[in-house]
Amino acid sequence: MPARRELARGDYLSILGTRVLRTEDPKFLTTGGVYTDDVVDDRLAGACHVFFVRSPLAHATVSGIDVSAALEAPGVIAAFTGADLADLPAIPPSAAGLINTEMTQRLLATDKVRYVGEPVAVVVTELAYQGEDALELVAVDYDPLPAALGFDPGDSSLLFEAAGTNVAGYWGDPASLRPDLFEGCETVVSHTIVNQRVAPAPMETRAAAAVWGADGRLTTWIPNQGAQGTRDDLVKLLSLEPGQVRVITPDVGGAFGAKFGADPEHAVVAWVARRVGRPARWSETRYENLIGMTHGRAQQHTVTIGGSRDGNIQAYRLEIVQDAGAYPKIGAVLPMLTILMTTGPYDIPSAEAIAKVVVTNTTPIGAYRGAGRPEATAAIERAIDLFAAEIGVDPADVRRKNLLPKFTEPHRTKFGALYDTGDYVAALDAALEAAGYAELRAEQAARRASGDVRQLGIGVSSYVEITGMGDGEGTPPSENATVEVFADGTATILTGTSPHGQGHATAWAMLASEELGIPVEKITLQWGDTDLIPEGGGTGGSRSLQQGGAAVQQASRELIEIARERAAAELEANPADLVYDTSRSAFAVAGDPEASVPLTKLAEGERLLVRTVFSQPGATFPFGTHVAVAEVDIETGKPTLTRMITVDDAGTILNPLLAEGQRHGGIGQGAAQAFLEEVVYDDDGNPLTTSFADYPIISATEVPSYELAEMQTPTSYNPLGAKGIGEAGSIGSTPAVQNAIVDAVAHLGVRHIDMPATSRRVWEALRAARQGSEHR
């Protein structure tokens, strides 16, 4: 069959691998996307507006809530508290079993609040502008409790009395750590480093619109990363039947992991709509978003690394503390991924990792671009630089010495990950070459020698990450697609993935176009409506192309085979004698091009449609190396990121334009964590970064243009050869930038600066190093 396809294609140029412009752009550039807040729909006519009363305290018991004054306010039609939702089940923690099952959450807090921003009540108003004033009138009696904070919150102030501890659970057994792990190592370095809490901060905040039909079904519009998973969450949160919920995904203004599934607020809005008997809408402010949407990262790493003085790493230990925030959600599970990726692309004879998960009086932690893997990369990449500094060997050389050699058969790591294909040394060398590494080191030496105020730092980070994971329970990762061709020459694709900026409408159309010959502009993609597409895994974990895209290709090929049968009947020929000519979207009898029938004709009667499921044998493991160049003003401590050079090998690239966009975005977000962004709380658990004036979200002036070098090592796990590319940028760039900033001042005695390596932190590190050397 492949031979026939090639034959049919003749000199036809493949669209795969080309820079096709996005078909979705004209709308976004003119009338704009239709985000949840923009949705105009008859079903939502007369919608009321929901506003959340949020806890102003980090930790307190709630002795009473009085909504009577709010009910008197203009436009207020109702107000509800947790007591009104008492018959709904408590939300269990993620990974119940490993995580303490007493650590449950209510949709609205009842007896206790556990973080600033936790919803305690709602006020429902006629008009959108009436809510803010009414919120002030809800009187909540709080009895403050001491806040449990940080990576060692202790047990003196328990978030969950019934749990008896603030430790939510462990990944791995602390007793299993081997005291002799570093025996025989000439050099051992250990350091405790913080992978700080950051805010996903998609430009579109959370929102919802909900309405119940006369048939008792809920229809709800929610910005999310997978309508089907969001539906399943709502079914659980509201104790409904699966068939009772329809989730519609409007355009989504960025998500980055934080819009996976339904949050308590989405369930409450749906509940309110039923209770008041009219449609309800909610749209959060940025203030609410920065305290109410899950945060990311929040791990502490104690790394210990040992090896020979010439740079062979022999042993590595990673001890993780995960701050899960007030409720153990996805954040409590992230360490599992961090542990899985502990040794990254390196071949380290002895390695071990464990994690402790604690709850604190802060916003819960969820997934954020990379979700668990950037933490693993940050830990080992920092550890390697610490080790390299200790033995006085170039950090790039230490990496080259310890990277796994190229492999084409899957490689099983000590932590159970099965790396599909990899050529890590080539990625490192390509990045160093593109950066002009030797010249950079020479320039650095010159500036050090001359005592330049602006010192140069070069940071390297090699990574491998896991993308397109299954459910972790042995089911192979898979996705469905439906392709239908119409008699008018158009086609429609239904996908279980859920684009929110990635460009699936274009990319999936390219895949179908390649098989069917129908132009990309005539192919429409539909997603995010659970009535139309009941099953799907959504978009996250960099899974979409390798599974969802592969499913589109598979469906298109299966469609051609169905059409072939019809064409054979039409032409009274043997199906095997027909060739499909994509250049004119028609079947012809081999050797007799005159005897042909167009695909469109075959769609005139019975619908020409295929639904298929593509499964791949396992997750794929993209890899690469990032090189960051930073200048640091040693008088003020101010770091400036001047260059970012990256090799990100995600297998075969379908559309370089889109793949580069994913890399750019990841690089920017990853760099932001290294030297700018951090969610900060004071000692009482009050968040101090509650607006974009206070949360230093990265802007255009803080990053350079990025230099991308190409490398493509296909995977055999799907016919596209594709691995995930959505998160790689943020995984590689964070440690590269951090390492560059440390490297700029390394000759002044600085070994480590925690992230974000801000001017102040750099300045303090320089001062400490100066004082340290004076004391010596």
Binding site: F28, L29, D37, A201, E204, G254, R286, G668, A693
Partner: protein, 158 residues
Amino acid sequence: MTRIELTVNGDKRSDEVEPRLLLVHYLRETCGLRAANVGCDTTSCGACTVLLDGRSVKSCTVLAVQAAGQDVVTSEGLSADGELHPVQAAFRLNHGLQCGFCTPGMVMAAVGLLAENPHPTEEEVRAGLEGNLCRCTGYHNIIRAVLAAADTQAEVQA
């Protein structure tokens, strides 16, 4: 309520508005022009950027009444006859948008920037767009798009 008369995307309008109504809400709710978005509450993000008498402003910081007598252009009104404006076209050509949420504001800010400085350097583009946040693109392609638009505009003028 106050009556305001103004031009929005070339159409003369006359509307009764609350004195405290923000221009962005006037555009979105009263005019039904929802391209401009609200991304923050501290004038930080620029998702709401529109042109007011040819200058880019954050419409979340302007009251509708302050726009009286002026000419407002939003992303919807930038293109004519189904043709993308050169800046919009450059954003598409250079993949300067992903989720699209920042895009209408970003494009209007870029139009305003190029009106003031038709031949900016990369550094000037970055500085000029500092008040417009994008969480998706890492800014790389946005900057390229604006520089490319500056080039094509130069060609058009030449």
